[in-house]
Symmetry: none
DNA sequence: GAGGGGGCATACGCTCAGCGTATGGCCGGT
DNA sequence: ACCGGCCATACGCTGAGCGTATGCCCCCTC
């Protein structure tokens, strides 16, 4: 409104007026603007002189709006509120990001998701991921996250569930380790170092059993308390680790890990992505589910020759 | 609203923003505030920096509001209009004056209305006129004025419209120029000076074409950026200008301008006075409409011998 | 009635926010 | 390729807006 600039003596006149009207005194308004009382007094006087009418009656108890002052104050209050709401809204909309909470294992995040985080942020520029990280077997309630990875829906029936990846396991090591020590099956007794994950919840013999002969269990072993560290040690050439394909698919595709045996363990079970029913199922959550699934399927296709 | 003062970097930020948004360029907004273009440019940049977002996209054609800018502009426009209405109302109530906003061309105001302003004030002593001045072709929204002059109602269907004057154009110059150089049609090639109005929105060849033979377009010419100045130059004897009768009727009646040719262009279109439906249609607005129309009809009758 | 507290108004002098000028870069039209 | 018109920025200037000091007024309490 071009006219407004011409109707007031300066841009700050109305801000000063509004503050004085609301606070009821020059001193209180001055404190709000971090100026001194004479500054507000002059500002109001300037506005009144410009308009040719009194907006306040002055008294020992401060300022009292005249009838014209009340009319103007109502308008200014409404007008400023309209502007302030819009300002607040556009600033909030601009900085507002979707926060999505994911419950995932440390190994998965470290060796599968982080390597493709750049692509994730490209595809989801307004999403801010928050992780509930689970060291070891995927477990525990996830009622307070948007998306969780778990083995089977049975853990928490009251949820949406979507199949994500089959549970397929194979021994993996670095290419350098393989060249130096040969595959897991060959070689003399105890020639290998097995990198174990010290997880009381997981029967690793259950997985190792089908992969090595009985006497092979005499191999040296190193145990770690986090599966992500187990895989890192394998990549560093320190031994052979169990490789859950859902976690090592990226590393196998990149060649930072290679199969250490021709044997595989397919348990018949599957990892699922789950969303609790008690939490809003946001579009962005579904989009991320789809993205994760698509990426996993692409990885699996890419390393099919290594896992069958 | 105390918050508003904290959301903007300075009190004048929003005034600058609103003007730039409405005018579509820093230069045009600067002219409205009687400052230079860099001043507006800095003001907008300061506001954007403070808010942390872009309000305009910059280009070779000026400023275009972003989506956030549009949101803010709507709010600021409404908010400021609310304040301005109250300000006008209390000033009018105090002085018992009616403020009437008119959207008219600079040429019309300068050469048709101002010459009869004394008579206007005699007939409307309590009316305080405010002008939205349009340099060049009458155009643009007029939702925030009481009365606008436009070519056809189609521009903004949601309005009252009353026919005001036909679009009739003839070449005009001063009497002294005519005595010295003769009419537009006669004389050697290139003997005249054409006073042009540099308005990209208006195809002046469309009007000059029927008024002069093809070779006459070789006349020397001077271009001005405002039609009011074009007419002033013609009155000063500097050449021949196109005279829209709706603007030059007073000057023709007074003899400060005379026809420079026997040819006329009647486009068949008509100027209208319009009032937006979204704004109160005040009695004083209708009275001014009638006054303007009566004055124009009297002018046209007075110069009928010159325009047919 | 006197005194004190708290309010607003004004004179004087200071300073930096906002300005203009100069200039450069970019874009679109010819 | 050239030109006109737009916006952005560096530099220096200045007066609008500020604080301080002070005076005056009103209201309340003793």
């Amino acid at each position: 409104m071009a006219g407004l600039g011409r109707l007031i003596p300066s841009a700050r006149s109305l801000l000063v007026f509004e503050a004085a009207a609301r606070c009821g005194s020059c001193g209180a308004a001055a404190r709000e603007f971090n100026v001194t009382q004479p500054s507000v007094s002059r500002g109001i006087a300037q506005l009144e002189a410009h308009l040719g009418l009194a907006l306040f009656n002055r008294g020992a108890r401060g300022l009292v709006l005249t009838e014209e002052g009340k009319t103007l104050y109502r308008a200014v209050n409404e007008g400023f509120e309209r502007v302030e709401s819009a300002l607040a809204a556009i600033v909030a909309a601009r900085t507002q990001k979707h926060t999505v909470e994911l419950s995932l294992s440390t190994g998965f995040v470290a060796h599968w998701l982080i390597p493709r985080m750049q692509r994730f942020h490209r595809d989801f520029p307004t999403v801010d991921l928050r992780f509930q990280l689970i060291s070891g077997t995927l477990r525990g309630p996830f009622g307070n996250v948007d998306l969780a990875m778990r083995m089977q829906p049975g853990e928490d029936a009251d949820c949406h569930a979507w199949k994500f990846a089959p549970e397929l396991v194979l021994p993996v090591c670095s290419a350098a380790y393989l060249r130096e020590h040969g595959p897991l099956e060959g070689g003399p007794e105890g020639a290998h170092t097995l990198l174990l994950f010290a997880d009381p919840l997981q029967d690793f013999a259950h997985y190792w059993g089908p992969l090595v002969s009985a006497h092979a269990l005499s191999h040296a072993s190193i145990a770690f308390s986090d599966y992500a560290v187990v895989l890192q040690a394998a990549m560093n050439g320190q031994g052979i680790a169990l490789g859950w394909v859902s976690v090592v698919s990226h590393a196998l595709g990149e060649g930072t890990l290679v199969p250490a045996s021709s044997r595989r363990v397919a348990t018949g079970r599957a990892y699922h992505l789950m969303a609790p029913r008690g939490r809003p199922l946001k579009d962005v959550t579904l989009a991320i589910r789809d993205w994760l699934t698509t990426e996993m399927q692409a990885d699996i296709a890419r390393i099919r020759h290594l896992t069958t």
